[in-house]
């Protein structure tokens, strides 16, 4: 972030908390904003001398999915950036409000399609709060086990994409090898690939089976070594380190103001992790660390995910040791009608705090179901970090923030 006189400072509104809201409203209203354009649009779409608008997307190799980014560039330097989203808006919340509580789980699946299990977990936890259901401990352990596996797969893909957006061909294929292996074992567990519809209200769909356990043991025996060797291709690479270090620095104060969570926040030095900050499931019984880094740049965000993979392997190991016996589903009627109320549940996904807010009106369908997705929040950071950098850095910053458009657009 540069404070160049020509680049509008994105902090303008948040730097001064003492500004009166009435003044903000008045200037945003009284200023001669052209009809139909907001203040931000009017500021962005007026070109100074030598500036050019470059439209990237909705189909572009480096925008993961269907993100559209309008760059205002001056030569190779990015002056301002305006992300345009909504190309994958599937109306999940409306569909969930028109489905009953069991069907809603299926709709929330494809939101973050690289880490589907988290997308199921948060709504299921909210439903359980509404219904006052006690989840069997074995089911909780199985949830933790499978979701941590999913976290490893997601982080592996993130690092591969980061290398791909920096121009490296091979690392993404290496990370896809790990990801495919995990996907296969989760397929053996859940019966469905990629969009495992596994979580159920009051438990999970099925108990651990033999193929899953054998694949898991086989993979755990070499996972750490493989991931280390794959990262050796990048971490000692001078080109990548030179490009990523000191790029897109996010200081902790700004991160909190931007409501950032997850690895992107921890890479800035704020040790906020829902698993510890607001414990849920059986995480209090498991021992693991919350890795943080102080730099807050792209390299830190990238390295932090490697540390998280190691912690996830630790959690998986602990789960396999502490796994209790017992049922994996609570006794529930097929058609659940929770009493009216509101419930909010959050889990720590691979990208940050993934939350669900459900309102029940006593019928068999949620009256209002809100999905809070971290990618949606993190994508705003692109407009904050990119100005002042080069066009090539835009991809590096976006890849290090790791948004998933399915979650951004819901």
């Amino acid at each position: 972030m540069t404070t160049d006189a020509r680049t509008p400072n994105p902090h303008a509104a948040l730097d001064d908390p003492s500004v009166l809201i009435e003044d903000v409203v008045r200037e945003s209203i009284v200023e001669a904003v052209p009809i139909g354009r907001t203040e931000r649009q009017a500021e962005f779409y007026t070109l100074r001398d030598g500036e050019m608008l470059l439209n990237m997307g909705p189909q572009h190799p480096s925008t993961h999915g269907v993100l559209r980014v309008v760059l205002k560039i001056d030569g190779e330097r990015v002056v301002d950036i305006d992300p345009v989203i909504g190309y994958l808006h599937r109306g999940v919340e409306k569909l969930c409000e028109n489905a009953d509580y069991h069907q809603a789980i299926c709709y929330t699946d494809p939101l973050e399609y690289v880490s589907s299990l988290f997308c199921e977990w948060a709504p299921v936890m909210a439903f359980e709060k509404l219904l006052d259901v006690e989840v069997p401990r074995r089911a909780e352990y199985i949830r933790v086990l499978s979701t941590e596996l999913n976290r490893v797969a997601s982080h592996a893909l993130t690092m591969g994409w980061f290398a791909l957006d920096l121009g490296g061909l091979t690392p993404v294929l290496y990370s896809f090898i790990e990801r495919d292996e995990i996907m296969e074992m989760l397929t053996a567990l859940t019966g469905q690939k990629l969009l495992f519809n596994y979580m159920r209200i009051g438990g999970v769909n099925g108990d651990l089976n033999h193929e899953f356990m054998s694949r898991l043991g086989d993979w755990m025996s070499r996972a750490a070594r493989h991931i280390e060797s794959n990262q050796g291709l990048l971490n000692e690479n001078e080109i990548l380190v030179r490009r990523a270090r000191g790029l897109g620095i996010l200081d902790p104060e700004t991160a909190l103001r931007m409501a950032v969570t997850g690895p992107n926040l921890r890479a800035s030095g704020v040790p906020f992790d829902v698993r510890r900050a607001h414990p849920y499931s059986v995480f209090p019984e498991l021992d693991f660390d919350i890795p943080t880094r102080q730099e807050g740049d792209c390299l830190a965000r990238y390295l932090l995910r490697i540390d998280e993979i190691k912690q996830s392997l630790r959690i998986i190991d602990r789960c396999l040791h502490q796994l209790p016996d017992g049922p994996v589903m609570a006794r529930l009627p097929r058609l659940v009608r929770p009493r009216p109320g509101r419930a909010f549940a959050a889990v720590e996904g691979p990208r940050g705090m993934y939350a669900a807010y459900v309102i029940s009106d006593g019928t068999d369908q949620p009256f209002r179901m809100r999905i809070h997705d971290p990618s949606f929040v993190h994508l705003q950071l692109v407009g904050l970090m990119t100005p002042g950098n080069l066009v090539a850095d835009t991809m590096a910053i976006m890849a290090s923030l790791d948004p998933v458009m399915g979650g951004v657009d819901k």
């Binding site: 480096s62 190779e76 920096l166 121009g167 490296g168 294929l173 990048l234 080069l390 090539a392 850095d393």
Partner: protein, 446 residues
Amino acid sequence: MSVVGASWQRMSLTGRILAIAVPILVAVAVLGLLGVVLAGPIVAAFLGDNVPLVRFAAAVGGILVLTIPTAFIVIYMELKVIARMNLRIGPDRVGPFGTAMSVVHGLKFVGKEDFTPTGVDVQVFTMAPVVVFLATVMTMVVIPFAPGLFGLDLNIGVLYLFAISGLTVVGLLMGGWASFNKYSLLGGLRAAAQMVSYEIPLTLSVVGVVLLAGTMSLNQIVLGQSGSFVDWYIWKQPLAFLIFFIAGTAEANRSPFDFSEADQEIVAGFATEYSGMRFGFFFFAEYVNVFVMSALIVTFFVGGWTAPIAWPWPVDLSAVDPLGLGVGLLLLIAIGPVVGTIVCAVPFWLASRFSTLQALVLGFVVFNVLAILAVMGWAFISFDWVVGLAWFFAKTYAFIFVFVWMRGSFPRVRIDQLMGLAWKWLLPAALLNIFVTASAVLILNR
């Protein structure tokens, strides 16, 4: 309705094109034949008068024909080697081990729709691929492939080389500017900046070699390195070799310096709007460029077509003169194959698992293989251009493998880092290299 009319209506597009093209080609061939018959002596006299022109034309024609298979081989190498580095199999369905895959990729462009988008500058848009392709191909004219096997032996070969290869950037700039597309524009400008920056260290790094060789003719430079591998200039000019390798990578737009077609940033760079055979020209030019760069590295630093070690026990076959046999040669040609086939068939026949016919067939095959091997060995020993060609291509493809290897391994550096490398490091190093070499030459030659 007439027969031809009905058939014409039923032809597909390709059919109609061929139905028109074939008669025209036949007519042209007949006319050409007549022209040769009538005006043959005059033309022959004209050609005889200026041989260099003829040689140049022949060389350019031969090089043009040679580039296409070269590009196919390099593309196949890239497909397969990168696939192996990615722990993939790579193409294996088309042809044995997928060897025909690159040919298929190349021929596909011929059948693709080739259209010109709205708003482009049509003439420039059309000429750009031609300029790029020709500028890349013309550099191969002065490269000595083997003793006596080169297009031209210019005494200013090095100057010609860099002058022509500098034209490539013009083509890229044309394509990027004329495409009426911001990605293409960025790609063209990036290519221009990059190539202009790297031309300078590229050229300066060769000056040391020119000082040592005392000539600018690539042929003489290669001859200056003849002997064993200790005479190669890579030992006398290690810094120059390093600079030339890095700058050549950037010059050939290869990873980690492949900015002008950086997929993740500017979609396909200057080639974003090109389709069909026009893109095919860019596609070929890129890979021919890799070949040229490797060939130049080999020529300047790794001894060109010279063998790394002299053949320890030279065989002199000059005494063997087949024509000396006279009629015996005819006899040999007549009887040799039969006798050889029978001789080779005997062991199979003795191994009683084969019938007589099978044994004869196997013997024939074995005899042919042996004969071909014998002829090739004879050529290898007695014709030095064969061995030279073998060594040249071996070295060149070794360096092409290094280029592909780098593409499979490295991320892309940033544009400002690229420029900084060129102007802050490579240029001073090249100047230092020139200074040291010149002073050394002065001191040693005094």
